[in-house]
Subunit: 429 residues, 2 copies
């Protein structure tokens, strides 16, 4: 008999079926037991006579195969249950479970959640997070592929840091010094110049930042894109707006069950997303929220407050902040008037989920920009070289996957939206 997935059982009323999955919950009465079985598609209530082989000693989270008949029952939420004729235990759990997987909310601390990751991910809510995360990535890649972007795979072992930064993990690479890439920035620009024009990458990036916040982990997935022959940074913001709309509608189409489990409604994005110059945002924060200490950037509290302001005033949960000052942006950022840049951040529900902007595409200008920041252009030879032989105007952006997942689903700490997070104290599981 072929396995039937639990979410298809409603089409099998009065039929004999084979179900495989985990024992989600057992409630034993005098003659029968109610056993809830869980597979990747859902849960089903099964009625088993206590003398059926395998029932005695069965523990939560054991893996079982169950044969039986689907019978209509209006008193069960699903409208049916399964009357079991045969139960085979495939993997018997013999030890006490360290956490209670079947609770609606696990209500355990983050350490326990992550230490018992395989079990905590079986919890319906936690499980749903990463199905939606996968849908975000699918939405991102499908939209860009449809728009003629080429997916690229660039090296994560590099000989110099992309942004000239210091927060790099160092590696012993055949007795040479190498580093883990903190961004695919140089390589995605090079691939634009290599003739692909429009490229994207979904890949890990590494930041050896030793501070520990809810918004930082040391290895994260960056959804990167870069495109050539654009006129200005507005095109990038328009692209990201359309991209986010597509991602959300893809989630709505493919993850309705998961959204229901998480009790989440996705945000609406109107025609366009509000744009605001950084200086304007700072003025608003000074005026309305007494954040007089702000100067040329927002702190995490400022990001939250300006998001609240925009939500109240414009009804939008997103806001593009534009025209960051030059010394707050990397050396490849295209300058604008008055020491500003043609760059932007996207804040979503109070958190920066994207940094993007137009890049410098002329060799001499880029070389000068590197030197102006006190760095040695010779350290960037292979990158600079690409600008000597015909680089089109271009720009791009990156979305932090764990961050957008967290904001979308209402989690405060991005470790909860990372399957196996890495930070200063966590290398396991």
């Amino acid at each position: 008999m072929k396995r039937t997935m639990i979410n298809k059982l409603n089409q099998c009323i009065n039929e004999e079926v084979l179900v495989k999955g985990w024992v989600h919950r057992i409630r034993t009465l005098s003659k029968i037991s109610f056993v809830i079985i869980r597979d990747r598609s859902g849960i089903v209530q099964c009625v088993v006579e206590n003398q059926t082989a395998g029932v005695k000693g069965l523990k939560h989270e054991s893996v079982v195969e169950i044969k039986g008949k689907i019978v209509g029952n209006e008193s069960v939420a699903a409208g049916f249950e399964m009357h079991v004729s045969e139960l085979n235990v495939i993997s018997l759990v013999t030890e006490e479970l360290p956490i209670e997987v079947n609770k609606e909310e696990l209500n355990i601390n983050l350490e326990t959640l992550l230490n018992n990751r395989v079990l905590s991910l079986r919890n319906l809510k936690n499980n749903a997070i990463f199905k939606i995360q996968a849908a975000i990535v699918q939405g991102f890649t499908n939209y860009l592929a449809k728009e003629s972007f080429t997916q690229i795979f660039t090296p994560k072992i590099v000989s110099e840091g992309a942004e000239g930064g210091t927060e790099l993990f160092q590696l012993d690479y055949f007795s040479k010094k190498a580093y883990l890439a903190q961004s695919p920035q140089f390589y995605k620009q090079m691939m634009v110049g290599a003739g692909y024009e429009k490229v994207f990458e979904v890949g890990h990036v590494y930041r050896a930042e030793s501070h520990s916040t809810k918004r930082h982990i040391n290895e994260y997935v960056s959804l990167d894109l870069e495109m050539g022959f654009i006129e200005n940074e507005l095109e990038l913001m328009e692209l990201e707006t359309a991209l986010l709309k597509h991602i959300f509608s893809h989630i709505n189409e493919t993850c309705s069950a998961e959204l229901e489990i998480l009790e989440v409604e996705l945000p609406e994005i109107g025609e366009s997303i509000v744009q605001m110059e950084l200086t304007e945002a700072i003025n608003i924060l000074k005026e309305h929220y007494n954040k007089i200490e702000l100067e040329e950037d927002l702190d995490p509290e400022g990001e939250k407050l300006i998001s609240e302001y925009v939500k109240e005033k414009y009804g939008s949960e997103f806001v593009f902040l534009t025209h960051y000052p030059q010394h707050k942006r990397p050396m490849y950022t295209m300058p604008a008037e008055n020491g500003k840049t043609r760059s932007f951040d996207l804040l979503f529900r109070g958190l920066e989920i994207t940094t993007g902007g137009l890049r410098i595409h002329q060799y001499n200008e880029l070389k000068e920009s590197i030197a102006n920041r006190g760095m040695n252009p010779e350290k960037f030879t292979t990158y600079l070289e690409a600008f000597k032989y015909g680089m089109p105007p271009h720009g791009g952006l990156a979305i932090g996957l764990e961050r957008i997942t967290a904001m979308l689903l209402g989690y405060e700490n991005i470790r909860e939206t990372t399957a196996f997070p890495r930070d200063k104290v966590r290398l396991n599981p």
Copy 2:
């Protein structure tokens, strides 16, 4: 005026258009010049009067914007050409090009090709390779998403090696020892056990192998999948067969221009792919090819010869070799009778592109298997832990992206099918 992509110009006969791209080739006559422009979609011949601003001193690979009219011309291969009224140089190339991008075959050695990667990738053939590589990945992900696999992102910074191997890159991780993952093996199994059942990952893996061959690089992209509740390894081979068919048909649909540029026809896969026990392959090689030195594995020459044999005898360019001996497979491999395993390799045109198999899913058996190989189970605690609380039967496989690309397109060295390869001597570009 909006930019028109070159592959759409055939719909613009007698219209004024704006084209942007690189100067692919210039041929200057006394009064006019023929300038071939290249964008990501193709090339077009443009006729420019020599007194037009910007023409004088224009060099190959400069980036330009050109306005003009598309005019039918039967003597040109495309059936039309562009008569230019205005030419704007966006990025002028002033230096001599280190390689001739516009040649049909670059005919340069691998070192030069890779040292000048941004330029060599502009060559039509080299450019096409990575569009097809992107299509392989799209085909892989789309097929598996359709089959209810969940895309996962697992850590590449790990505290122990997945296969207990020694060829690991070591990392300084906040003063702790960490390693780059040589495979997502443990984590994909854990994600099956975490309730996702069917998972895939597209990500980098790292092998600190110091030998240098055409078939090895030290950072490569692994197309991994793992699935639970399977009965045997045949299901995995069937899945891979269907997956490859889908990938090839996706390439045919989306990359016809690139296949033409590379003069490549994709292989046909029939109903199923030939399966052969490893011992049978070895016997054939001994008998027909005098490879008497072979014992329990094939060498690279053996892989080539058995592929030739299968092609001649069965007309197939693929062959699954099955039942590898236990001591040739990692400790998590499900054993079969007589010291064999329920595992397989897939050879394609003489090269192993996949390793896969059924895994051990019972805690005690896995612990014993680790110990039997002289390893300490305590070193695998977080992995083993996952098997205590209900792990379904499962198995999986991995496809090497650079390898399948190379074999598909007829390249001998997988460095040619890696955008920016990393090996013992190469960390740049």
